[in-house]
């Protein structure tokens, strides 16, 4: 073991490094664009295999939100009379629930995506962000039938005559904000989950709170009344509450679907337009942070899984 070593050393000095790649070095989310063909296949796999071997198949995508909606509507609306002050409560409820569903599904899937693809992550090098991104896109595909259902109900109630360009923009803004936010959080918790499976349970807990932390079952003004009126706390706490990207997504959906079909709708939350920008920036910041943590931990995925 004398000869080869010195030869090797000479070579290291002589070789122009620029011609070489360092294996395992990823460029983060930029790589996802370069691997878009694989992304498409992963999404297609996720979508088509989900209801494989089930009789009802895609109907389940309608049944679940419908059941959820029915429970909330009957219990909260009819039994507990929570709908007082919120006209057209059913539409209000449903347009909020679909946003929460999109967020929950995207966030949960993205969190488990790395561990779920352990066999691949351990054996083959590919940009692991792909798994999280495809999980969010699959969640989006499953969210579409729910929006379709909502759209049908709204059309039935005369939505089309009140529709404005602003409502359509609000739908897209709401979806983008929620998905970017979910991807950011998903990358963060997905990376943590490789080492500590507690992340999955923390996410479950967060999702449980998310439904109640946003004005899905109640109106935003009730929060205002409680905080400023009853408790006497300053207004900025309400503003902070409204800066939750999920809350903003829910409010944008209310603005787009519920408001046009409701005559006696209460006032829109203050600064809805500006909050769209701020929450979008918060979502992007979350994504950058999640991406940063993900990339820091990525090198250890293969050995930690």
């Amino acid at each position: 073991m004398c000869g080869p070593v010195t030869e090797t050393r000479d070579l290291f000095a002589a070789v122009p490094r620029s011609e070489f790649d360092t294996p395992g070095r990823s460029r983060g989310l930029i790589d996802v664009v370069r691997w878009r063909y694989l992304l498409r296949l992963l999404v297609r796999t996720g979508v088509t295999t989900r209801y494989r071997n089930s009789v009802l198949g895609w109907t389940w995508s309608y049944v679940r939100p419908a059941a959820q909606f029915l429970v909330f509507w009957v219990v909260l609306g009819l039994f507990m009379n929570l709908d007082r002050g919120i006209p057209n409560y059913a539409v209000y409820l449903f347009s909020g629930i679909v946003v929460i569903n999109l967020f929950s599904e995207a966030f949960k899937n993205a969190t488990t995506s790395i561990v779920g693809n352990a066999a691949l992550v351990r054996k083959v090098f590919l940009p692991r962000q792909l798994f999280a991104v495809s999980a969010v896109i699959v969640a989006f595909v499953h969210f579409l039938p729910q929006v379709g259902l909502l759209l049908v109900v709204c059309l039935f109630l005369g939505w089309i005559t009140h529709i404005s360009l602003l409502s359509v923009l609000a739908i897209f803004a709401g979806m983008i904000i929620v998905m970017v936010f979910a991807l950011g959080l998903g990358l963060f918790f997905g990376a943590i989950n490789v080492r500590f499976r507690d992340a999955e349970n923390i996410v479950e807990l967060m999702l449980l709170l998310a439904t109640w932390a946003s004005p899905v079952l109640y109106g935003w003004y009730q929060v205002q009344d409680a905080i400023v009126g009853t408790l006497g706390w300053p207004q900025w706490i309400v503003d902070l509450y409204l800066l939750n990207p999920i809350t903003q997504g829910v409010e944008l959906f209310h603005f787009a679907f519920w408001r046009p079909v409701t005559d006696a709708a209460f006032a829109i939350p203050p600064g809805l337009a500006w909050n769209t920008l701020w929450t979008f920036l918060i979502a992007v910041a979350t994504l950058l942070f999640g991406q940063f943590v993900f990339r820091r931990l990525e090198g250890r995925f293969a050995q930690d899984l």
């Binding site: 073991m1 080869p4 070593v5 030869e7 090797t8 050393r9 000479d10 070579l11 290291f12 002589a14 070789v15 122009p16 490094r17 011609e19 070489f20 790649d21 360092t22 294996p23 395992g24 070095r25 691997w35 063909y37 694989l38 296949l41 992963l42 796999t45 088509t48 295999t49 494989r52 071997n53 066999a119 691949l120 992550v121 351990r122 054996k123 083959v124 090098f125 590919l126 500590f196 499976r197 507690d198 090198g299 293969a302 050995q303």
Partner: protein
């Protein structure tokens, strides 16, 4: 371009160390409890202790050694699945690994869909896969079952298809980890011929295997690793003799 040697290097492994942390705590709770009790959370195991290697373009190299000597870890480092703790790994051109073929297969998808999915996972572009699709299926010899779901395949059929996809990936460097024992004798012979074809095309081949016969036929250079150190680097016969005794 410096031409000190006749061959251009294809893989450079420069002083690579790899340590594995053996965890004794498996959850946040365990971590906190051990931390409070001031118990040691982890211990270290050094899998690679400063490996220096240069593999030239067109060389076919066998990496030999006993189980747990660090061969597969080294290969994972070259493929990019793991990162070295110290030192540097550099590769030139497209590196593809025949490392546990079939890892990317989805049991619920048909053979055809899996060919596309797996080839994309191994880094192929859509038009490349479409161009080679017929070749891949023909090589695997399971044309008549290609539209069946993969979960209904026999293990032999599964391995043949997976192997066939992997071997048809556009590549400059091929890493092979212990999968030369695919299928029955005729198929193995076919694989061997395919490897020889790749060697003739000037591809770089790095093989980790315990199948000495196959290694002897394919490789010209042997590297023996023992407990994370290179203990032999040279003619293949010498390496085999060292490992076999």
């Amino acid at each position: 371009m410096s031409e000190q040697t006749t061959i251009k290097p294809s893989i450079i492994v420069d002083g690579v160390h790899k340590r594995f942390t053996l965890n004794h705590a498996y959850s946040l709770k365990d971590t906190v409890v051990s931390w409070i009790k001031r118990r040691k959370l982890t211990s270290e195991f050094e899998a690679l202790k400063g490996i220096d290697l240069v593999i030239g373009q067109g060389e076919s190299v066998a990496i030999l050694g006993l189980n747990g000597s660090g061969k597969s870890t080294l290969l994972k480092m070259v493929s990019g699945v793991m990162e070295p703790d110290e030192g540097q790994v550099l590769t030139r051109g497209r590196v593809a690994g025949l490392i546990e073929v079939g890892a990317g297969f989805h049991p619920e998808l048909s053979g055809r869909e899996n060919v596309f999915l797996n080839a994309a996972i191994l880094g192929m572009k859509q038009h490349e896969i479409e161009a080679r699709y017929d070749e891949i299926v023909a090589f695997s010899e399971i044309e008549q079952f290609i539209d069946q779901e993969v979960k209904h395949y026999s293990s032999g059929m599964f391995m043949r298809l997976a192997f066939s996809v992997a071997i048809h990936v556009e590549l400059d460097v091929l890493l092979v980890d212990e999968i030369l024992s695919v299928g029955d004798a005729p198929f193995r012979e076919k694989c061997r011929l395919k490897f020889e074809e790749l060697i003739e095309q000037g591809k770089t081949l790095v093989v980790v295997s315990h199948d000495m016969e196959m290694v002897r036929e394919l490789c010209t250079r042997g590297i023996v690793i023992n407990k994370g150190d290179v203990i032999y680097d040279g003619e293949i016969e010498g390496a085999i003799a060292l490992v076999d005794k």
